[in-house]
């Protein structure tokens, strides 16, 4: 990162807590390209078609800073670009313009269960997925009992995951993700996991992490939950940031 970026930081935001996530003038554009073979790309090029004509601006010049211990909701309707924003923060994608900087360990509850393998047992999957989320063996060992207890699937832990019901599967996956060693937690619409009691448990766990001073970025359509957990909201509409401030006005701004 160049020093220019540093000096252009708004100075007043750096006063209280230290920033955990800095997003600066970020734009992300998708090419709706379907040429998955050289031939298609080549033929298109020869015929003088603008191969990159179908552009879609998912995020347009978005900037914000999230401080340590803050819980921020990314609000917006489907397709507004909020999940893309989470992917940029997690590092799965890179912005086309602008920069994203993060400080500390980051874990994403982004579609939990992505790393699960149906032919491995629950226990093996716990270790594999915790490792995918960046944990080392001793850290997993230390948390293993908590993970299993939280997931409520103790009885089936040595069975292959393909025999699990979808509810059990999601509970275990969520439990692994939530018990990770982390400073920043990214939550993407996963709180619809499981039945009502388990949802309540997840919500309580997220609130607990929030109280412990973890930084959180939450994407959710559940307004009650967002109100409870977050104190700040950033509204994104068609890729543009339209509001950044306290949560209540943010929800109003999104609905407007």
């Amino acid at each position: 990162m160049s020093q220019e970026t540093t000096s252009s930081m708004p100075s007043d935001t750096a006063v209280q807590a230290r920033p955990s996530i800095i997003v600066e003038h970020v734009s992300k554009q998708f090419l709706l390209r379907r040429a998955h073979a050289f031939k298609e790309a080549f033929v298109g090029w020869v015929r003088g078609k603008d191969v990159s004509s179908e552009k879609f601006l998912a995020l347009d010049d978005v900037s914000f800073t999230i401080h340590e211990g803050e819980s921020v909701a990314l609000l917006g309707f489907n397709g507004s670009g909020k999940s893309t924003m989470l992917k940029l923060i997690s590092g799965v994608m890179e912005p086309d313009r602008g920069s994203v900087l993060v400080r500390g360990r980051l874990a994403g509850l982004i579609e939990v269960g992505a790393g699960f393998h149906p032919d491995l047992t629950g226990r093996e999957n716990v270790y594999l997925n915790a490792a995918i989320l960046g944990m080392q063996k001793d850290e997993i060992d230390a948390r293993y009992d908590d993970i299993i207890a939280f997931s409520e699937v103790e009885r089936f832990i040595d069975q292959e995951v393909k025999h699990y019901s979808s509810g059990m599967f999601m509970r275990l996956a969520f439990s692994v993700a939530i018990h990770c060693e982390l400073d920043i937690l990214l939550v993407d619409e996963v709180l619809s996991v499981g039945d009502a009691p388990f949802q309540a448990k997840c919500r309580a766990k997220i609130e607990e992490l929030s109280r412990e001073g973890k930084t959180m970025v939450i994407v959710s359509h559940d307004q009650d939950m967002v109100r409870q957990v977050c104190d700040r909201g950033i509204v994104i509409r068609q890729g543009k940031q339209v509001y950044d401030g306290p949560i209540e006005p943010a929800i109003d701004a999104m609905m407007a």
């Binding site: 799965v92 890179e94 900087l101 994403g108 992505a114 393998h117 490792a131």
Partner: protein, 286 residues
């Protein structure tokens, strides 16, 4: 204006390439275990297939090349000669193919969670190596039976051969694996290379056939092929001590080996560079 200390910050999604493997070695170990455990899922014979397939391949080649074409008479212990080449090529084909497919196969993960994506091709090569070991053991048993005794140069030759194959399949695997995400054509090119690999190295015949048939520059090119170098190193380590010595090592065995190693390093660097270039688009192209 206060200046913010950015030293603790990092840009998400930027790793140190294959060097990251050292920090992520626990995950690498689990990925390798996953690859070996789930390889023969739902199969009755399971790992026996790792023996059956090369044995079958060996049988076909031995009958056709050894008996029909008469190489059996020209080459002492032709069976060992043949098999020590086959295991090397199998290791390459297996590792190269797995590494190429590894990004697509782990697409769900690549799209959702950031981790150094180089881990997937590297795990694929290690799984291929695990697969190679039982074949090498059979070869070794056969060699010991025929009077093979270990020597320092022989062991070094085998080790160098393995390093060459691992580096080559990783370099090419990263290159084609990364391209394969955007352009599935890469997979077909890989299949062509795999088809060629058995014939582009002295596995089924001896290097002297090539020397006598083609001009000098082409022969030099042939000898610089990392596959040729690795196969000849294996011949030197495994087969040669058991033979009557009528077929000598090719000239400059070790020089060729180090040239090949250099070529592999170049492939590794190119593979890594292309991989990093394409990696930025993995999540959206999958």
């Amino acid at each position: 204006m206060t200046t913010l200390d950015l030293s603790e910050f990092r840009t998400p999604g930027r790793g140190r390439g294959i060097l990251d493997v050292f920090t992520w070695r626990y995950l690498l170990r689990l990925l390798v275990r996953k690859g070996t455990q789930t390889r023969y899922r739902n199969s009755v014979l399971g790992w026996t297939w790792s023996y059956v397939k090369p044995a079958f391949q060996f049988g076909v080649f031995f009958v056709v090349m050894g008996l029909f074409l008469g190489l059996n008479r020209g080459v002492d212990n032709f069976a060992v000669y043949l098999f020590s080449g086959i295991v090397v090529i199998n290791f390459f084909n297996e590792g190269f193919g797995n590494a190429t497919r590894s990004i697509l196969e782990n697409g769900a993960l690549v799209q959702k969670i950031y981790l150094p994506r180089e881990l997937f091709p590297i795990a694929a090569i290690i799984v291929a190596f695990v697969h190679f070991v039982p074949q090498a053991v059979i070869l070794l048993v056969a060699c010991v039976f025929l009077g093979w005794t270990p020597s320092v140069s022989g062991v070094l030759a085998i080790a160098l051969g393995l390093v060459i194959i691992a580096a080559l399949s990783l370099g090419l695997g990263m290159l084609f694996g990364a391209i394969n995400v955007s352009f599935r054509d890469a997979q077909n090119v890989v299949e062509l290379i795999q088809m060629l690999s058995t014939w582009a190295a002295p596995v089924l015949y001896t290097w002297q056939f090539v020397r006598d048939a083609v001009p000098r520059w082409l022969f030099d090119l042939y000898m610089a092929n990392p596959l040729t170098a690795a196969v000849e190193l294996f011949h030197a380590g495994m087969w040669f001590p058991t033979s009557d010595g009528k077929i000598p090592h090719p000239e400059h065995l070790w020089t060729n080996a180090f040239i090949a190693l250099g070529i592999c390093v170049v492939f590794l660097v190119i593979g890594q560079m292309v991989f990093r270039r394409f990696e930025r688009r993995f999540a959206q192209e999958l």
